[in-house]
């Protein structure tokens, strides 16, 4: 029987099983690859000055609600709930747990929601500053993100890191940014000797209404993905995505350009674990054995 990539990653100690599909520990070697690849992203992005912001993997629940995420992806969202009861409630809680019953039903929603994409906390933050400066804004983000989609596919983790550059400005400015990163993204992946393919794509919108949103997104070519075979050559994995949000976030958050027009936004997102997995799948599980050219691109 063929051993799956996930099993081989566990056996090599690169990923550590926690007992939950899509929730894994990472080894030092795995983290080193992510760190080095992030260094490469920064090198490619350094020609355009950006503001670096790092948010934790949880976001303000009111910002999450305002984003409209639940309209599109209710099945993927994760909320943070806590015990908010009195001492008697605590006694009941412990008894409930001891009896093996559902103790989580009385947990109360906190003000924090797990971040679904690195850029979600950014839009309300920047809108709060007032109109964008002339020339718009460019931001460098990275965060662990949560998506509730348990899977044995190591490329579909529930908690994973997303690096992003987000551009805000006029339609022309953000479209030029997206075009530039579609080219840079291909150069970047070619530099680590992985096969590159770009295709139009859609987000996994929920339900029948979602089917229409997905078709609309494709019709308008709002999303492109850079695909690399990781676990399957037939069904390739999206490792980078290039997204044009039009004025969706601008309107949602009241983001405006210097001259008062609704700002348009676009982002390039890097699925860091997916890229690391692609590197391990293509070049081998021991980084010492990787082609010297790939090692040079990553470690210098």
């Amino acid at each position: 029987m063929q051993t799956s990539l996930l099993d081989r990653l566990f056996d090599a100690g690169l990923l550590i099983d926690t007992g939950v599909d899509g929730l894994y520990g990472r080894s030092g070697a795995f983290e080193d690859v992510i760190q080095r690849f992030e260094g490469l992203i920064s090198a490619f992005g350094s020609s355009s000055p950006s503001e670096v912001i790092r948010f934790p993997p949880g976001m303000n629940r009111s910002h999450f609600e305002g984003s409209g995420y639940m309209k599109s992806f209710p099945q993927l969202a994760g909320t943070v709930h806590s015990f908010c009861g009195c001492e008697l409630d605590h006694v009941n809680l412990l008894q409930c747990m001891a009896e093996g019953n559902d103790w989580t039903k009385d947990q109360k929603a906190t003000d924090i929601v797990l971040t679904p994409a690195a850029c979600y906390p950014l839009y309300p933050t920047i809108a709060k500053r007032g109109p964008l400066p002339a020339g718009g804004g460019l931001f460098d983000l990275q965060s662990y993100c949560f998506r509730h989609e348990p899977s044995k596919d190591p490329a579909r983790m529930q908690l994973f890191r997303m690096r992003e550059y987000v551009r805000m400005g006029t339609p022309e400015e953000v479209m030029a940014f997206r075009q530039q990163w579609m080219e840079r993204g291909q150069e970047l992946i070619a530099a680590v000797e992985l096969p590159v393919e770009i295709d139009v794509a859609n987000d996994p919108f929920f339900g029948r209404a979602g089917k229409m949103l997905a078709n609309n997104q494709r019709d308008q070519a709002l999303k492109f993905e850079l695909l690399i075979p990781v676990t399957s050559t037939a069904k390739k994995t999206a490792c980078l995505s290039f997204n044009y949000h039009q004025d969706h976030f601008g309107k949602t958050w009241g983001l405006t350009t210097a001259d008062g027009a609704v700002a348009h936004t676009a982002c390039v997102g890097f699925g860091l674990e997916r890229i690391a997995l692609a590197l391990f799948a293509h070049h081998g599980l021991d980084t010492a054995d990787w082609p010297s050219t790939v090692r040079k691109a990553l470690w210098g």
Partner: protein
């Protein structure tokens, strides 16, 4: 049918302009119909006309104008009759 479509468009389209100002062939996206509003409109049309849009019709083209919506609905109700 067109009157009902216009009524639902006014209620669910969230358009920045009055529906009376739109011709049957006016591009609704140009008039400000958002993706989310077009979905709301689609669901309201299904409810009002007791039809279900097949996946092949769940696209921008089917909701691009009042006339396009009328054609899409007509194709569904004709199928139902046949």
């Amino acid at each position: 049918m067109t009157t009902k479509i216009r009524e639902l468009l006014a209620k669910h389209g969230a358009l920045p302009v009055s529906v009376e100002t739109l011709a049957d062939t006016t591009d609704l996206y140009e008039a400000g119909l958002s993706s989310f509003a077009s979905v709301q409109l689609m669901l309201a049309l299904e409810d009002a006309f007791d039809v279900e849009f097949p996946e092949t019709l769940l696209n921008r083209k089917s909701f691009a104008s009042i006339a396009a919506i009328r054609d899409a609905l007509a194709s569904l109700t004709e199928e139902a009759v046949a």
